[in-house]
Symmetry: C2
Subunit: 248 residues, 2 copies
């Protein structure tokens, strides 16, 4: 499994992914699911992947191969003039990769994957997309300003309650850490280390990029104090009484 | 979909279920998923059901039919001498019902359901079981003192963090309400009203039984104040800093 979150904030984009892949519960590995490229002062593009690992690695490898040939016309990440074109081309690559595997194996359900595409190109707004295995995609908006892929449910309530697009980028990282902590506690197939990428609006390079290891003191502090903080929150709510006379 | 929680507490059993059933998103109904029977001073048995509605209604109807014939030898709920026998017989009924439908329709994946069985018979401990569609079941223990069926994920982190078997039964109801609130906010197919049943140890009748409607003032208070309480909890955690110097 996987858990990735991408959030659109007033001040930029905050992205976090886990690194655990598994085939069953007895075949667990660490693989990077976050990939980022930038041209200082001009563009920054970050992807996060969930789903079949062979599929997502193929997509990423194709994107990287194109970058190594400077005259390649289809250099999606560096030559596309808008983030919309980037998402379109990644969708095309993803659909092709999934389709080839499905056709070769005469199956429809396997080999699928999803990709969160985030970034900004100079002169335009930061943008955040979720690309489906069918190659189509949706874009974050003020109504739905964050995307999750993989094991999305355990970590969703705290984001629904805590997200505020005007919050600082540091607070947004803190919020995603709490969301990851809830997920890690409930699903063994989501695991540390975590990759974090923070893209400040008009920065065109990573403002903050970090691999959070299991011994990270901040993540440990969040993980150990969130339980207590939740209990305090719980006790701050009005108490229930079995008497029928309760009025809030 | 469905969401039901059954919790084993030092002081008894706390059970809560939603009442929404759906076939697609455009065919939504209210059906009771919690069923309870008791013989004052002697036994109390409560079931909660998730899964195919025709299956669970058939199981419940069979249990009720047997009770209407006072000489029925197989009066599972009133004549079984232990909760283990009750769970065994419910498992048998469930497996038979699922099996008949699957056989008649030549399919394996449909018509399944799960049932939480809770109760106490005089002279014995309160017990809590989860019965699978295959007819087998597991029992709650100090290590795993609660069961969820249906849409379990959104509401799980708060129970993992907030559950304490020594808490009051009122606090246990409050905790399940917070868990339901998180689930209702995230999944349209789980819906109000909610049914609550509280079984005090050695009570042998409902200590508290209530249908929580959408206009319930306490549930509204929990729902509206939990968001603020979570934000306060979030801000009580140490702040993150992009400086590498952080030490917890």
């Amino acid at each position: 499994m996987t858990y990735c979150v991408g959030m659109m904030m007033d001040r930029g984009l905050v992205l976090m992914s886990d690194t655990r892949t598994n085939s069953g519960v007895d075949n667990i590995s660490v693989f990077r699911k976050m990939f980022s490229w930038h041209v200082p002062g001009e563009r920054i593009i970050t992807l996060m992947t969930a789903g079949n690992l062979a599929t997502t690695q193929t997509v990423i490898s194709q994107l990287e191969e194109r970058m190594k040939e400077p005259d390649e016309r289809q250099n999606t990440l560096f030559k596309s003039s808008t983030m919309f074109q980037v998402a379109t081309e990644i969708g095309r690559l993803l659909r092709e990769t999934v389709g080839e595997r499905q056709e070769a194996n005469n199956t429809r359900s396997k080999f699928t994957a999803s990709i969160i595409v985030a970034g900004q190109i100079k002169g335009m707004e930061p943008r955040l997309f979720m690309v489906y295995p069918e190659g189509n995609f949706i874009e974050a908006s003020p109504d739905t300003p964050f995307f999750q892929i993989g094991e999305t449910k355990y970590g969703r309530p705290i984001i629904l309650r805590g997200y505020d697009r005007s919050m600082s980028l540091e607070d947004a990282v803190k919020l995603t850490m709490v969301s990851f902590d809830s997920t890690l506690k409930a699903n063994l197939s989501v695991g540390l280390p975590l990759d974090v990428m923070v893209i400040a609006r008009d920065g065109f390079e990573p403002l903050f990029e970090r691999r959070i290891m299991a011994d990270d003191p901040y993540f440990q502090a969040i993980s150990s104090s969130w339980g207590e903080a939740l209990k305090t929150a719980f006790h701050s709510l009005p108490d229930y009484s079995f008497s029928a006379k309760y009025r809030a």
